[in-house]
């Protein structure tokens, strides 16, 4: 999560293991205290691994850990069972200290079948705990995962602490009294596995039991069966002592406050809903379902009583049209999609650029081009957001840096759009959208004000007619008229909504004369308007914070990131500095306009590295805009950066260094 003051604090080294002879009536067992742990549940898409991971996350958050998660699932809802393509995983990093990433390597891995073993075991630390569901290692299962020999028998797993558990069989036994079909009984397997891991890390069962009760309230036999499976897993760990030691990750020292767990998409939903409440305006969200943005549409559909209207449009063009029409009518118009949908919206976004109407465009980026990698993360739509439209078409662009930051930045997007009458891109990504972290619930009094004012009166007083005589349709000066493109000092035009008496006016996508808004093909007017539209976006810089710089004042190297890579870069910088490297870090949340001190910050460092999940888009931009020797650190594998990858990128530039 993001530390309160925005500065990266150093994590304390892991505590030494200690023996803890508990005095309770539980069998005394050594308990090892860890400062942090990373685990992953992996299985077939149908095995309920996302659910197990989410439950583990919720419980860890409730016991007070800092958390960061990484759900990773295939694009196919159900790829053929047992195949490598169908493996779904959920990774949780939980900690007693401040953390920013879902973790590079796993301390423990649960695999429900050979395919999950094959695709995940390489991420397990040497000596790490590997819990294997042995029931799914038949010759057919092995063949589906393309194993020539059974890895449980050929010694290839000798580097790990393998715990073999017939999870399917034990689950069936645990739920036998509830009269479930064999298929239904098998569906409880994930709760057995979860119970087992709860035992290993000494977590309470109550939050999950409560969840099961609420979720399956209509089906009492599912409540009983899933609860029984969860407890059976826990008890199995306890009685069979599957491990000679249990682990404890104590609560983190988070800033005082009330917390909840939040994913990026959830934070986006809450931020948009808060925007409706804070402004007192209806928020209209037009969207067409697409991974990984759909949960925003689904989440907002539940927010009707808060003044949110969702509209599931016939396509992405309609969705953005809905948002523009809503803005035109005085609501907060928002549309959300992923890259392929942005392609479809380009023309309409330009209509908002040209007419100067507020519009928030959410792009939850995924691997591209084309359909690309629907369920995987990437940051490759930055230049599309900035430039992917015809004509000189400036828009504002912001990007959240963590799941919880989606709340703050979507509020910023709404603020900028409504204050500057322009489209604002909000560049989230698949990793932020699905990843979770603790979020300190903001105090209501500290939420930003979102004051929206509409024009109510004619504004032509003091205006003496168009300066440029090439105006075609003679609008003379004089009081009592409404001039839709008469600008204020920041170059912002008035927002006059239909229904307002006396302000009837026409707008459109054709070039218009400044001030009057009349259609104009005058060459000088077009150049003037092009510059005005650009300058207006530049003026937003007066309202955004400067870039913050963290790390060593006398750093040799500056790491520059944007969006969802913040956690990995921050952790890499912390580690490198602990190893003696002199490094500084800065992170863009505002990409257009960029903060005013950007040039000054960049020019302070001889070496600039720009890690991005693309082939170097921000890097390209910084080089072009500021003529600085920025170098890209690229990864385009549909996955977030590992901290170690960033460390070695720096080592490559600065040379190896030991403590």
């Amino acid at each position: 999560m993001i530390p309160e003051n925005g500065s990266a604090t150093l994590t304390t080294p892991a505590a030494e293991p200690r023996e803890d002879r508990s005095s309770s009536d539980r069998p005394s067992r050594p308990i090892q205290i860890l400062s942090e742990a990373t685990i992953r549940f992996a299985g077939d898409s149908g095995d309920g691994m996302q659910l197990a991971g989410t439950q583990f996350t919720n419980t860890s958050a409730l016991v007070g850990n800092d958390i960061a998660t990484f759900p990773d699932y295939p694009a196919e809802i159900r790829a053929p069972a047992g195949t490598l393509a169908g493996v779904s995983g959920f990774q949780i990093h939980f900690s007693s200290t401040d953390i920013h990433t879902p973790g590079d390597e796993l301390d423990a891995l649960v695999v429900m079948n050979p395919a999950a073993l094959k695709t995940n075991v390489k991420d397990l630390k040497p000596g790490g705990i590997l819990i294997v569901n042995t029931d799914n290692f038949t010759p057919t299962d092995l063949e589906k995962a393309r194993y020539a020999r059974n890895p449980l028998e050929d010694g290839s797993l000798n580097n790990y602490r393998v715990i073999r558990v017939p999870i399917a069989k034990l689950t069936r036994e645990a739920v036998s009294e509830f009269k479930l079909s064999p298929k239904e009984a098998d569906r409880c397997k994930n709760f057995f596995a979860l119970g087992l891991v709860y035992w290993l890390y000494e977590r309470p069962l109550e939050p999950t039991l409560k969840w099961i009760h609420e979720k399956f309230a209509k089906n009492p036999q599912y409540v009983h069966a899933n609860s029984a499976a969860l407890k059976a897993g826990y008890n199995y760990g306890e009685t069979l002592e599957i491990s000679h030691v249990q682990y404890q990750v104590p609560r983190a020292r988070l800033a005082p406050g009330t917390y909840r767990k939040i994913t990026g998409n959830e934070a986006t939903v809450l931020g948009l809903t808060a925007a409706a409440l804070l402004s007192g305006r209806t928020l209209v969200y037009g969207s067409y379902p697409i991974t990984p943005a759909s949960p925003i549409l689904e989440g907002l559909a539940e927010m009707r009583r808060y003044g949110v209207k969702t509209f599931q449009a016939e396509d992405e063009i309609a969705a953005v049209g809905i948002a523009i029409g809503a803005s035109y009518g005085g609501a907060i118009g928002v549309t959300g999609t992923s890259g392929p949908g942005i392609c479809l919206k380009s023309e309409a976004i330009n209509l908002a650029v040209m007419t100067e109407l507020p519009l928030v465009v959410i792009d939850v980026q995924r691997g591209g081009p084309s359909t690309g990698l629907p369920t995987k993360t990437e940051q490759a739509d930055l230049l599309q957001a900035l430039f992917g439209r015809n004509g000189d078409s400036p828009v504002a662009v912001v990007a959240p840096r963590s799941p919880a930051d989606c709340f703050d930045m979507i509020l910023e997007a709404v603020r900028i759009a409504t204050q500057f009458m322009c489209p604002v891109f909000f560049l989230s990504d698949g990793y932020l959208a699905n990843g979770a972290e603790p979020w300190r619930i903001p105090e209501l009094a500290r939420l930003p004000r979102l004051t929206i004012t509409f024009a109510t009166q004619p504004n032509s007083e003091g205006w003496n007619g168009p300066a440029n005589e090439a105006a075609i349709d003679g609008e003379g000066g004089g009081a009592g008229k409404f001039l839709p493109y008469k600008r204020d000092a920041r170059l912002v035009r008035p927002w006059a909504i239909p229904g307002t008496p006396g302000l009837e006016h026409r707008i459109g996508g054709l070039e218009k004369q400044d001030v009057t808004g009349n259609i104009s093909y005058d060459p000088l007017n077009h150049e003037h308007m092009t510059r005005v539209r650009r300058q207006k976006i530049e003026n937003i810089a007066d309202t955004i914070p400067d870039l913050e710089v963290w790390g060593d004042p006398d750093a040799d190297l500056l790491m520059v990131g944007w969006g969802g890579t913040y956690g990995a870069i921050t952790t890499a910088v912390e580690r490198l500095r602990r190893r003696g490297f002199k490094i500084a870090q800065t992170h863009f949340r505002y990409l257009n306009p960029m903060p005013k001190n950007t040039e000054a910050v960049l020019k302070r460092y001889r070496t600039i590295l720009v890690p991005e999940l693309n082939t170097g888009q921000l890097c390209w931009l910084l080089r072009a805009k500021y003529l600085v020797p920025a170098q890209p650190v690229s990864k385009v594998q549909g996955k977030p950066f590992l901290v170690s990858e960033l460390e070695s990128a720096v080592e490559k530039v600065l040379g190896l260094k030991s403590n």
Binding site: T258, A318, N518
Partner: protein, 348 residues
């Protein structure tokens, strides 16, 4: 549209004039539509600020610039989406969509279908000149077979879309047709559309003087039009012809043109019921085509007037009901309870 409680404004057609120079070609059918619209609006008793014209791109879509109401000239084909968004923001406005056969049936065909299907309270006027006017004369999806244009040398060989059939298939609750030069009829139809609750679809035969002059001559030429048009009136038998002695009879599922007194009596003639829940008869009418060079064996008089007008809940009404329901169940949402919906924990 909500009924206003303030005293009804008394407006004259000229109150809707803007100071913009109208730039359609001389003789263009759009001029007449503009004039009739001003008359229709002046009669409604609705203040100008509550009227909005939203258009796409095309000659026809320049319409909003010439109406002294609120207006939005948007992008090609997308006007229904923007109109829908506007209605979501403010359900108290009378929202018109002006579109052309290219704008509404080609690039924007998808939006047209879905706006009608949802019964959003917008009034869609399709200026059908069977040609792309603004781009200077290419054939359109409604161009009849054989249309000679710059992109169809030798004549168009694409089956044309029938706008009224399409609207009915899309579950439109109000479907009508009128003609640019039939000024009284058009005023009446525009008023009917304005008063309809839900989406209204009106096809207007519009002559493009420059690129498709005369395609509707059979429907406008005084010497022949009575034989070629079927003026629909609710509750009245479907009679037409100079002597009003021809009519439409149903033979099984097949309509046929008959002569009253010769082939049958008046009782055998179909009686028009625009309010029929079942759109089947309206659909049959929507397929009447006069011109046998089109894909029909026998000529039928082309219906003008209201084919269908039924009252169904609008999208806005249904959404408002859902909102009211959510508030009734859980109360109006406040910031205080927004964040606390999920499990929370406290750090001291």
């Amino acid at each position: 549209m909500a009924v206003t409680t303030a005293p009804l404004p008394t407006l004259k057609p000229d109150d809707f004039k803007t100071d913009q120079e109208v730039r359609w070609c001389p003789g263009c059918g759009d001029y007449s539509i503009l004039a009739q619209m001003k008359k229709a609006l002046a009669s409604l008793g609705i203040p100008r600020e509550k009227m909005v014209f939203i258009s796409g791109i095309g000659c026809s879509s320049r319409f909003p610039y010439y109406m002294n109401t609120y207006g939005f000239h948007t992008i090609h084909g997308r006007a229904p989406t923007i109109a829908t968004g506007l209605r979501l923001a403010n359900p108290d406005l009378l929202v018109w969509v002006v579109t052309g056969d290219g704008d509404g049936l080609s690039i924007g065909g998808n939006h047209l279908i879905h706006a009608l299907r949802r019964n959003v309270d917008i009034k869609i006027l399709l200026f059908n000149n069977e040609i792309y006017g603004l781009t200077k004369g290419q054939y359109s999806p409604s161009s009849r077979l054989g249309t000679l244009s710059k992109t169809s040398p030798g004549g168009s060989f694409e089956t044309p879309v029938r706008p009224l059939s399409l609207a009915l298939a899309a579950e439109a609750t109000f479907v009508a047709r009128t003609i640019d030069v039939d000024v009284q009829h058009m005023v009446h139809i525009l008023q009917r559309a304005a008063h309809h609750k839900g989406s209204a679809f009106v096809e207007i035969y519009q002559n493009c003087k420059i690129f498709n002059d005369g395609v509707f001559e059979y429907a406008t030429d005084k010497s022949v039009k009575a034989d070629n048009l079927l003026y629909l009136e609710h509750g009245k038998p479907m009679l037409f012809g100079k002597d009003r002695n021809k009519g439409i009879r149903l033979n099984g599922l097949k309509p046929e043109v008959v002569e009253v007194g010769k082939d049958c009596g008046l009782d055998d003639i179909l009686v028009h019921d625009e309010s029929a829940e079942d759109p089947t008869l309206a659909y049959l009418l929507s397929r009447f085509v006069h011109d046998t060079s089109r894909d029909v064996a026998r000529p039928f008089p082309e219906p003008v007037g209201v084919l269908r007008a039924v009252r169904k809940p609008t999208y806005e009404e249904l959404l408002d009901a859902r909102i009211a329901d959510a508030i009734a169940r859980k109360g109006r949402g406040k910031l205080e309870d927004l964040f606390k919906a999920e499990d929370v924990w406290t750090v001291e």
